[in-house]
């Protein structure tokens, strides 16, 4: 379990994506994926819902549905999660 106030990293997201939805053939999550669209990486809304659920459990936060809708790239989702964590720590 992660402490609130910790930082959510790209590696965390890579691991959770793999656990929750696997990886599309021909897609290497080890590549520079920060600004790729989730859709282009092969993740549809249900994959992101599952990913969001796992982030919420692991980091003990609650994400608004709009966070998943609005975060169309790994960079945007990581920033949104870290904003939550920072707000919680403050």
């Amino acid at each position: 379990m992660h402490m609130s106030g910790s930082v959510f990293t790209l590696d965390d997201l890579r691991r959770i994506l793999l656990e929750s939805a696997g990886a599309e053939e021909g897609t290497d999550l080890g590549d520079d994926i920060l600004d790729k669209k989730f859709g282009d990486l092969g993740y549809e809304s249900l994959a992101l819902l599952e990913t969001g659920g796992r982030i919420e459990r692991g980091w003990n936060i609650t994400l608004d549905d709009s966070v998943l809708d609005d975060s169309t790239t790994p960079r945007a989702l990581i920033e949104a999660v870290n904003a939550h964590l920072a707000a919680q720590a403050a």
Binding site: L18, G22, E24, E25, A47, L49, R57
Partner: protein
């Protein structure tokens, strides 16, 4: 309206063989896939034998993207659909999406996946339940996943009528082809060998409690005492004959006739409906009983139901009037996967001139059946009848013939 419908591809996942060739060799060699359950510890349960599909490693057949969202039955169905399409020489990505449909049968949906998520629900809470539970357990999930993987957007669906569903789905696929969809993927794969699926089957009261694989499932035998369940089945590619001919496809045979009935209410005194289903299937095929070369029996292995089936067969064909077989004595009863596997066996029997045997059974003389036992029988098979009954009174019969 009544276009000829051919079967051009087979994909088999059976307890005694993975892949069509493996299965056919096993079934002609009398090789059984029934054994003590290994997928969970069966010790606490009164029935402990099942037919498990051996050696299927999902990662070898499916992309990683599909693994977190699929039950075992769906993984087997996706692989079997791939094999069936390859066998038919169809590259789905090269076909118009709306010219291909998917109609499978299902008896239980993805029980193992569902059990795991329900366990998380009560042990850890709702936040731990997979988003994929929304569809991974569902009856229609095999049709849906086959459709998505292969880009098939034509008429699709699922038929749920227990073991009879395996034929009902193929009949529905034939209807869709006759309405204008040139190709429909059909058949069924069921797999619910997990504690939740097991207790559901136990509640039906028809499972054998024997612990001896060779003595546990004995349809038409004096010692019949219930059946052994199994997992697997077969996926079939059905095509409009004109379309298949146009692309020069080989065909295993033709879906020639189908009939389905419901049994009357228990206690009504009216006759069971299986015989009528056979008559309807023959009438639909425009064939007489004497043209049928082999019957693949439903083979309940519950004395009352064996009696009903034997009486239905004898009424139509006469006492010992047609060879009857139950290769499912080597696999167990596969729920909705059973009849599609029997259809595959029927087409292979037509192609090979060989009726696969019923194993372990010493048929009761009183049933009056010419049961093909122990070893395959060489017969020039042109027409086969497949029977399937579902819990609750479903009776279905399908006549298949050689393609020409």
């Amino acid at each position: 309206m009544t276009a000829t419908v051919l079967v051009t591809g087979l994909g088999v996942a059976a307890p005694n063989g993975l892949g069509t060739q493996d299965y056919w060799e096993a079934v002609c060699g009398g090789k059984s896939g029934i054994g003590r359950i290994t997928r969970f510890d069966p010790a606490p349960y009164p029935s402990r034998l099942a037919g498990e599909v051996p050696g299927f490693v999902a990662e070898d057949h499916l992309p990683g993207r599909l693994l977190p969202q699929t039950d075992r039955m769906t993984r087997l169905a996706l692989a079997a659909a791939d094999w069936a399409l390859a066998d038919a020489g169809i590259r789905p990505q090269e076909q118009p999406a709306f010219d291909m449909g998917v109609v499978t049968a299902s008896s239980s949906g993805g029980f193992e996946f569902g059990q795991n998520e329900l366990r998380k629900l009560w042990a850890q809470g709702s936040r731990y339940v997979s988003a994929y539970q929304s569809f991974a357990w569902f009856y229609a999930v095999n049709s849906g996943q086959i459709s998505i993987r292969n880009g098939m957007k034509g008429p699709s669906g699922v038929v749920v009528s227990d073991q009879a569903g395996g034929l009902d789905a193929v009949a529905q696929a034939r209807r869709q082809i006759r309405k204008g969809t040139p190709l429909v993927v059909s058949g069924a794969i069921d797999a619910s060998l997990c504690p939740w699926g097991w207790v559901a089957q136990l509640a039906g009261g028809r499972l054998s409690r024997s612990e001896e694989p060779a003595r546990a499932y004995l349809p038409f035998d004096a010692e019949a005492a219930g059946h052994v369940p199994g997992e697997g089945g077969a996926i079939l590619v059905l095509e409009d004959a004109a379309a298949a001919r146009e692309r020069g496809a080989k065909a295993y045979g033709r879906v020639a006739g189908y009939g389905a009935t419901m049994d009357p209410k228990p206690g009504s005194g009216r006759a069971p409906g299986l015989g009528k289903a056979i008559e309807l299937a023959l009438a639909d095929a425009g064939m007489s009983p004497s043209e049928v070369d082999v019957v693949f029996a439903d083979a309940a292995a519950v004395p009352e139901h064996d009696q009903t089936e034997a009486a239905a067969i004898n009424t139509v064909f006469g006492f010992r009037g047609v060879p009857v077989t139950a290769p499912k004595t080597m696999t167990g009863r596969l729920s909705s996967g059973a009849a599609p596997l029997d259809l595959a066996s029927a087409f292979l029997a037509i192609g090979n001139g060989l009726i696969p045997p019923t194993i372990n059974v010493e048929p009761m003389t009183a049933y009056g059946l010419d049961l093909v036992t122990d070893r395959p029988r060489a017969v020039d098979v042109r027409t086969a009848l497949v029977l399937a009954r579902g819990h609750g009174g479903f009776n279905s019969a399908m006549v298949v013939t050689a393609a020409d």
